[in-house]
Symmetry: C2
Subunit: 356 residues, 2 copies
DNA sequence: CCCGGGAACTGAAAGCTTTCAAGTGAGATC
DNA sequence: GATCTCACTTGAAAGCTTTCAGTTCCCGGG
């Protein structure tokens, strides 16, 4: 592979001129410019990204740290980011943390000396990442946190309106006449899980319904978690007539548990998930869900990172994306007609206790 | 961030010695070694991957080129590769081609000057990649093709035994008594699609069944393709009693089409997919499928690439992974009892013609 | 006691680009 | 015609590491 020196010789100009032509960093008269361009064409020369990065203290690399690409929510995020990066001449380095903070830190450390222009992080947990990412900032890398935020995060971010999404879903269920609503949430040290529960509670409160802690079950953001917690919920008295699952995998697990208990969804129990993954369309019944666009999440994050590289000192941005309630087959009014009573001040005192 | 020179000064040794300590490239006496290590610890020094790569003509980067991470088959492959890479201190750069050869070439070109140690490619189509990858080989990068192979590929590869997988699935259907079998294949310029059809045909031939071209429909490897082609197949006379879909997304589309035509799966039509994606477990009925491990595919590929880097001139390797037939709810004997007749020489002449 | 040999260590070059200060030259101005 | 300006162009340094050819030092053998 040719290098710049050879191009310079071939075109009969200096190294500096070649660089200027290639980067447009200074006016170069047309004939010279053409000679350089010709030499590049003839030799198929491509500048070494390594030497370039070394000199400029920055590479055309965007690093992305996510929990696990196997979780069907994340491929969309990655694809969104990659598309934006690719369009601007950047490459994407992908790292999986398995929600393990230690692994996250390892990635953060190892990536640093590749001098990526930007770093997009879906934090593994609530750990304060400020210290870790500070060195990136100092090195001139943009850092964007997405989906959920670490403690004390004061940098750029892209998230969705989790509170609203959960509120709308829950309100919809209440509107159908449900009074005994349960929620299965992901780990509450994650801000997105917190916010979804917050939206759930807010909807209950606004409808004057009591919030019983037993009806809010915390677990992992996966099918197994949804399955296990649903089994527990279905044993409670009164049995909830609707479940709001904080993501679709939990909802999927819930559906399996409901089926296994010989209950029907939606006739006996309504179910709404969160995320709007493809799989919600192919279950029976099709799952209702609070849709969000993972692609957009990733794309906005990449864009934000690249903007930050260009404009280092512009004010911090917090982008919040919308959600959309997608009602499909998994919801219906509750089984007992009495529940169709008017919404106003439906306040009853009931204990929600797991059966022995 | 400290650099090597500062470490050298701090430890009171030369640059070369620091390098030798860090890389173990030469014996360094213990006291010196310790002084260097201490200096590294104190300063938190990390060697610049860029300078290192520039000098060694090789970075600790593994590049991976896949069609589309949104296709649920690929996250597993990526994860497998990333895990192996991470464990050995390599990072993974991810590129999506959308099966577009032009984009593939762009990625190939752009990646080159990052000097990745290895390149793992799922080819976008049948295009001969030899020319493109030759420059990587010359630059000392390992190139591994996986899942399907480009024309004339003579380098390392990891694939699965597509012929066997398809043969087993088809034979299973025949064993249930099916005589009118159809296949919906992915694009036949892809070697994996070709091989699956080959396995399908081989099973028919072995059972003495006629192979009618109309019963083999070619389409894209996605839900829409499966849906459309199933609609066509269901109009044929005799209507096939079993469909072998060359991947799970096609099978999923087929299932939707079957349902839409008010036919029952498996009572009216049996269905087997290929890949064994998670989604096959959550459909109704659960889809039978020829399972393969995408994770293993990616992991083996990464391992092979790294082995090749270490042992440049060892003989070319072609790893072929196994498949496993996973029978779930989507298969049953054909509706008419007569079909349960013995297998031997069931040769009837019938024309398979699309209905007008 | 001297010398050879080997292990340990050093110094400098090489790898390729960007960038900045400095140099060149042509055209404009007076 | 001399001088100034401005636009181009150039040369060299800097960025950080690896590697190779030497150099130093120590030990054992003669």
């Amino acid at each position: 592979m040719a290098n710049m020196k050879q191009i310079a010789e071939l075109a009969g100009v200096s190294l500096g001129t070649v660089s200027h032509v290639l980067n447009g960093t200074a006016g170069v008269r047309e004939p010279l410019r053409q000679r350089v361009l010709d030499a590049v064409r003839v030799t198929g020369y491509q500048p070494s990204q390594l030497a370039r990065g070394l000199r400029r203290d920055k590479t055309n690399i965007l690093a992305m740290i996510i929990p696990d690409i196997l979780n069907p929510f994340f491929p969309g995020v990655v694809r969104g980011a990659e598309d934006v990066a690719f369009a601007k001449g950047y490459r994407l380095v992908l790292c999986n943390t398995d929600n393990d903070h230690g692994k996250e830190v390892m990635h953060l450390n190892a990536l640093r000396t590749y001098l990526p222009s930007g770093l997009i992080v879906i934090p593994s947990d609530f750990s304060d990442l400020t210290a870790q990412t500070e060195s990136y900032r100092q090195a001139g890398s943009a850092v964007v946190c997405i989906d959920r935020l670490p403690r004390n995060w004061d940098g750029d971010s892209v998230t969705i309106n989790n509170v609203d999404g959960a509120f709308n879903a829950t309100s919809y269920l209440i509107g159908l006449g449900h009074r005994d609503l349960a929620a299965i949430t992901g780990p509450l040290h994650l801000t997105n899980a917190q916010d979804r529960v917050r939206g759930f509670k807010r909807a209950l409160r606004r409808a004057g319904l009591e919030i019983s802690p037993n009806y809010i079950q915390e677990t992992t953001f996966d099918r197994a978690g949804g399955y296990a917690k649903t089994k527990i919920l279905l044993k409670m008295l009164p049995r909830p007539t609707a479940i709001f699952a904080c993501n679709d995998l939990i909802a999927l697990g819930a559906l399996l548990a409901i089926r296994e208990e010989k209950l029907r969804c939606p006739e006996d129990i309504s179910l709404i998930g969160f995320d709007g993954l493809d799989l919600t369309e192919t279950t029976t019944p099709q799952l209702s869900s609070v849709y969000q666009s993972p692609y957009q999440l990733g794309a906005e994050a990449a864009q934000l990172a690249l903007d930050r590289v260009a404009q280092k000192n512009s004010p911090v941005k917090h982008i919040v994306l919308r959600t959309e309630l997608r009602i499909r087959e998994s919801v219906a009014p509750p089984p007992n007609a009495q529940a169709a009573a008017p919404l106003i001040s439906v306040k009853k005192s009931r204990a929600a206790v797991p059966q022995a």
